[in-house]
């Protein structure tokens, strides 16, 4: 047999070695998510879209809670006919996932009947259920905000004693911690209550358009569906509002680049009435709209604008300059909405006959109905709530650190959430007994070891997929959320072949052809390296990045489909972008000159 015809394969999970020296850090992850021999029978892929960096022990809770909720929705709540949930495993800090397809035709029929009773009810009552969903989310957020800061007084407050409360403050630590974890798991259930149904309705319309108009671009379909007023655009809208306000009050000169946030705030406070008034406006915007993370919210170090004002402030100076220059600063929502209506009408006219037009009307009506959720949920879930969650854990970190468990409050994120509960109970017991907590000597060396492991894991590439390749990827969840198809697997397998090519291809997220210097940004911290006019090359672009869009000429990402949030946002702001290239961050060199042809989704390496 010709060697070239031999099917290429991904390594088996059992053949992936734990990187030397990180064995104990790997062992920290709980048993159900460690690979086992049986896992060699199954196909897995690296979820680099959601977890592009090695996971610290605590952050793994995001995978655990999210897959728990996604699987419940698919398997038990909506009963998707052809798929159950998603299994996840973690090795070398990398999250691998694998779907469970339903293939038995009789079982599919049985589940289809259930699905139609459940999912169709959701589609029919979408608006009221979504309104109810927002109330649930706001309640959950309110509950999280109302939880007390973890603290241990030397003596129980006298009023508690006189009130006959009957429980001491150390018990409150456990209650708050368990509620915090419970709230995070609950939030993810809410997150998936609509998500797959929303994406499915959108993809139904998408599939129809591709059939009726074989050469239509993904971005055109997305433009027909995208809303303009989703919450995810609001933080940036607020920044623009604050920039206009700063110019009107004549305080925009305080936002000089290179000035620290503290210095800006001080000079505003000292600048009299106008500075005070602007700070009041800032306060209005901050709650809740600055509860937006600089990442996608899946890692504890994706801090929010509220936690670090340097990112919104850096954007403010640019926006204020535009206001001074008399450039229109508002997203012209009315115009965008008119353009969308025109686009829908124009494509409708091109359809072959009235039957097709009727189907088109039905499908786009459903896509429009579901889309506010698809675009809007992220602000409530991945940003606002996640931000409160990680900050609450950070408070526990500070308390534990004050009692000698850690050198730094942030070290708390190197414990799993199970270990953290044990550490909290340790602290509760030591407060009770009057002895030193055991954790003060137990955890510090472990934290050192785990920090070193994260650094080590980040230095190694991990295979994009593991295990036997399925003949077809027919799992609507996997196709919808990760854009993974049989073709994309074949591309992964052939990556590295034909490396003489100086092209990188992806999905066109928005239009335009630009040339510039590539700046590879591998983590949120590196965003500050961007120079005016650079082309951002990153693993995943995230919704809260629009403020940097004014600095960059184009964006290129490894991961993401034409419906990813990066693509939606780039289109909204008219930023040329190519997403889902697979390997742009490894193929393009930092500082290299590149041409980004967004119409065709091609990035050319110039020299």
């Amino acid at each position: 047999m010709n060697a070239q015809l031999k099917p290429r394969e991904f390594p088996l999970p059992s053949s992936v070695k734990i990187i030397a020296g990180t064995e104990r850090a790997q062992a920290a992850y709980p048993y159900p998510i460690q690979f086992s021999q049986a896992d060699d029978q199954k196909f897995w892929f690296y979820n680099s879209m959601h977890f592009p960096e090695p996971m610290s022990a605590f952050d793994m809770v995001t995978a655990e809670a999210a897959y728990c909720a996604l699987g419940a929705a698919n398997t038990r709540v909506h009963c998707l006919p052809t798929t159950l949930g998603i299994d996840h495993r973690i090795i070398n800090g990398r999250v691998y996932i694998g779907g469970n397809a339903v293939t038995d035709p009789e079982e599919i029929v049985r589940r289809t009947a259930e699905f139609q009773k459940r999912a169709f009810y959701y589609y029919e009552n979408w608006e009221s259920l979504y309104a109810q969903w927002k109330q649930k989310m706001l309640k959950l957020i309110g509950d999280a905000q109302a939880m007390p800061e973890p603290a241990l007084p030397e003596f129980e407050p006298l009023e508690n004693v006189h009130a006959g409360r009957g429980i001491a403050s150390n018990h409150d630590l456990l209650v708050t911690y368990q509620k915090t974890i419970e709230g995070y798991f609950r939030m993810w259930h809410h997150h998936f209550e609509f998500l797959l149904l929303g994406y499915g309705a959108y993809l139904t319309f998408f599939g129809f358009c591709k059939k009726a108009f074989p050469e239509i671009t993904d971005q055109t379909i997305a433009r027909m569906v995208a809303g303009m007023e989703a919450e995810i655009f609001r933080p940036d809208d607020e920044l623009r509002r604050l920039a206009r306000c700063a110019v009107e009050l004549d305080v925009d000169t305080h936002f000089r680049e290179g000035t620290s946030v503290d210095d800006i705030m001080r000079s505003l406070r000292e600048s009299g009435e106008s500075g005070r008034r602007w700070l009041e406006e800032l306060q209005i915007s901050r709650d809740p709209w600055f509860n937006i993370n600089v990442g996608d919210g899946f890692y504890h170090y994706h801090r929010s604008w509220n936690d670090d004002l340097s990112m919104p402030f850096a954007a403010l100076s640019g926006y204020a300059r535009s206001v001074r220059a008399g450039e229109p600063l508002d997203r012209q929502v009315g115009r965008l909405r008119d353009e969308r209506s025109q686009l829908i009408a124009d494509y409708r006219e091109l359809l072959a006959n009235e039957e097709e037009r009727a189907a088109y009307d039905q499908m786009i009506a459903l896509a429009h109905r579901v889309f506010p959720y698809v675009e809007g949920h992220k602000f409530y879930c991945e940003h606002w709530y996640t931000n409160l969650f990680f900050n609450k854990i950070r408070s526990f970190g500070a308390l534990l650190s004050a009692h000698g468990f850690f050198a730094d409050a942030e070290d708390v994120f190197h414990l799993t959430h199970y270990e953290l509960e044990a550490a909290i109970i340790d602290l509760m017991n030591s407060w009770s007994s009057g002895s030193e907590p055991r954790g003060a000597t137990y955890w510090p060396p472990i934290v050192v070891e785990r920090k070193a492991a994260i650094i080590e894991w980040a230095r190694h590439e991990t295979p994009p997929a593991l295990g036997p390749i399925p003949d077809v990827i027919d799992d609507p969840a996997i196709v919808m959320l990760w854009g993974i198809t049989r073709e994309s697997l074949d591309n992964w397998l052939s990556a590295g072949e034909g490396t003489d090519s100086n092209e990188v291809r992806g999905f066109a997220a928005s239009s335009g052809v630009v040339e510039g210097i590539a700046r590879i940004v591998k983590s949120v911290e590196e965003l500050s390296r961007l120079q005016q006019g650079d082309i951002l090359v990153c693993h995943v672009t995230n919704p809260p990045w629009p403020p940097i869009f004014q600095k960059i000429r184009a964006a290129v990402s490894d991961i993401g489909g034409s419906m990813s949030h990066a693509a939606i946002v780039a289109r909204e702001y008219g930023l040329p972008a190519v997403v889902g290239t697979g390997n742009a961050t490894s193929k393009i060199k930092d500082g290299q000159r590149i041409r980004v042809d967004c119409g065709r989704g091609i990035v050319t390496l110039l020299h």
Binding site: T82, F115, T204, F208, P214, E215, T220, A358, A359, G599
Partner: protein, 350 residues
Amino acid sequence: MPATQYISWFHDIGLVDRPKVGGKGGSLGELHSAGIDVPPGFVVRTEAFEWFIDALERRSPVRACVDGLAADELDGMAAVSRELRARIEDSPLPADLQQEIHDAYARLGGSGPPPAVAVRSSATTEDSADASFAGLQDTYLWVTQPDSLIGKIRSCWASLYSLESLSYRRRHGIAESTVAMAVVVQIMVDARTAGVMFTRSPVSGDRSVISIEGAWGLGSALVSGEVTPDHWVVAKITGEISARDISDKVIRHARSPAGGVEELAVEESMRREPCLSDEELQSLRAIGRQVERHYGRPQDIEWAIDRHTQRILLLQSRPETVWSNKDNQTAAARAADPLLHVMNVFGGRR
């Protein structure tokens, strides 16, 4: 410009006049009245052809010679073709017909010198289902003299009796009494760039894109396949340019000082330059949409950009035929319950 028995101006005619002005003439008139720029011109109507042929018939039979031919009798057909073409080319036009054509030609030139015109046959069977038949008819470019114009009109008429045309008609049993030829006379476009445009994808049949091909100079170089054109795919609605293939355009067709058309080498610096700007692509898209809307179906369009005015002019538009014959697939039909559509995504493979 008054119409006469034998001459019609573009602004007076439309598709409904095809039996008397032929497919090309009807299309140009239709485009003109739809507000599309076409080079000005007139049609020598089929009545002129019939009058001329009738004059020939009086001397000896014409149509009867053809009707008597068997489809497979190629030698005899060739002889008839030679004889009829020679008779048409050599016979003078009735004097008042010739005068009418000269008058119209003079009007076309206005107060200036006799204009350069294209003389294009416009058969009445053209635009029928078989577009290839239309291609059998002749076109003469850069005609600049009244006498030469008359000669070229006769050549167009004669082309109806070419061996290919005769054999086509005999094979398809088309009666000679139904066959007539009009001739289009229109101002020649001194084209900087010319080409064709399909208002749907020739590759996938997609009605949402426009495929544009163009090359330097006159369109004849592209139509005859002597140059590989630049090629673009433009989204009909959004204007997004999804394909952009710029080719090495080695030659171009241009006006020959000796009359007619000559082939010239394209200057080195221009060969790999796109022959259309993005603005021009967008203008072509708008024109394509307008024409398609006017006719209510996808079109196959010939266009040229005037070297001096940079204006885009249409030379021809006819219904696209390849994909329209396959248009019986429906992407999806109305569902009794709109929600059933989502089973396409959630229901698994069919």
